[in-house]
Subunit: 365 residues, 2 copies
Amino acid sequence: MPIITDQDIDDLAVGAALLGTGGGGDPYIGKLLAKAAIEEYGPVELLALEDVPDGVAVVACGAMGAPTILIEKIPSGDEIGLSLDAYEDHTGGKAGAIIPFEAGGINSMIPIALAARRRLPVIDADGMGRAFPQLEMETFHVYGVPASPVAIADEQGNRVLIETNDAAKAEWYARGVTIRMGGQSYIVNYGMNGRTAKRVSVPATMSLAIGIGRTLREAAAGHRDPVSALVDFFAGTHYGHAEVIASGKIVDVARKEENGWSVGVATVEPFDPARPTVKIRIQNENLIAEEDAGRVLAIVPDLITVLDLDTAEAITTERLRYGQRVNVLAVRVPPIMRTPEALAVFGPAAFGLKQPYSPLGHGDD
Amino acid sequence: MPIITDQDIDDLAVGAALLGTGGGGDPYIGKLLAKAAIEEYGPVELLALEDVPDGVAVVACGAMGAPTILIEKIPSGDEIGLSLDAYEDHTGGKAGAIIPFEAGGINSMIPIALAARRRLPVIDADGMGRAFPQLEMETFHVYGVPASPVAIADEQGNRVLIETNDAAKAEWYARGVTIRMGGQSYIVNYGMNGRTAKRVSVPATMSLAIGIGRTLREAAAGHRDPVSALVDFFAGTHYGHAEVIASGKIVDVARKEENGWSVGVATVEPFDPARPTVKIRIQNENLIAEEDAGRVLAIVPDLITVLDLDTAEAITTERLRYGQRVNVLAVRVPPIMRTPEALAVFGPAAFGLKQPYSPLGHGDD
């Protein structure tokens, strides 16, 4: 069973940023946490989803809150352990494996830090296949795993447990508590057994993120065009299809805080003057990319990530600036994220978008 | 051991409104709940604080939230039982007696409803000796009982448990959750044994409230002046001293919602034109009564309650209106609520008042 190497973590940080689709938090601080935990407690095994024993007790984990606050309240790495303590105290069981609830952004790293401390494996899968802004936007929830109990802890050891049979309420209460914990908390929930995890998880997303980072690293070393290397890489995965939907210059970024969300629009002026302007609508993550006339190029849950033109490294929404030269990469999500049940939870309508979901490059899978 | 009668509950509603010092919520809905629970489950015993067995497991309970919401979300009576279920599930123990965390306002009734359902006694004592707006403003907290764990439930069976060693944070998180539960929740916390309860509670406050109601009822029957009957009644209790600090007409009520508080000033123009105008400052409860020139007539934690001139029934702050003819009654709190430790938690400074605490009628106890 593969061990997560130091190189893997560097690659994972790059790939998780891309899966963050503009949000999810910069994995950099998480990378430091994961490396520090491995150094102190020893290596972490990445357990393929199909190898998870049916009877093992799996819990999901990650951080909740505004990524910008994480930079001011840098975690020690103990916080997520406090949350697992609270979860285990409450349920009376012991976790046997950790699954990330979100492979995009910083939440790709938190589970590794926890797994190192607890000497548990991390499952190579997650519940979002990308980043999403809410706790109920999980394939775990879509396919019937209760979101509750939710254990929440902060860096001071304050702990809150939520029990509800409504996943949206679990999110609502947890968000309220997180705000009152200073805007950042650490969550353990979605307890399930291994058999269920195999049914409800987006497989191989941690190795996907590592593969994204490795692809970019190798492209740089081999002087290969990084974005075309990425498109080729995705073609060989169960995501299957990725394409550059725009290449150009950021000519406008309108962004504001609204109801706790970072909401805005980024405008990309294509290098090719014959092509129409592309607008990307943002609510924490990039939700939809459309041409001025309204033609939709890509829409949530498919991934839309703005990449630096030269390095193909992901640019998070808060770092978008006028004048940046970018490729906009879109990636189709795997089938488990495109069912009617899944789209009801994290499809366009869940974000208030009127446009229907249409899978990127549809027809070719 | 005395059983709480139907008449007691009517009297308690009247007395708890007075102990509410303008806030605490109208006990009327609570009265209906308590009566319905007794009718369905049988009588409830009121257990004198000194008779509580040392080893019995005591829990405090009450409702949290805006009293105005209670009128829209009328409780079924099950809610507080759901909260005790959550508390017991979490701690692994069973409650043996119920103590009100607040004898003022509606929270005098919630414990009776719970006790009837669980066939447990209610202790004749509380943690506030009146109404206060926050969960940490408890003699339980003042004298060392942890506020946590806090069990919170709503009418839909959603449950939240808070664990923190900081009572102010327990309040802060519980308030946030309560807001997200729609503004009303049911709380069980301050678990302690009987021996501790005897040390940290304000004694005989439930029978005090019942006695207030009885005094007014008997005064009405005997055509006696109700407010002087009240002053006499308090003289015979461990509160010891009450006095009418103003008699006059409400000539102004300025009130607004601020940070979740109902904040305002009520102005009383005395009937005696030789006497100065009195202003009562309100933050949910009546906090301070002072003359125009600044002389303080009464200040928190002492009770300040506006009474109807004719009936001496308490008028809550939200029912104060221009033109009402009133007596303003002040009551000194018992010694356990006047120690430096107690004043640090619910004295004037805790409400942002600059004036120091000076016990009403000081010198005579």
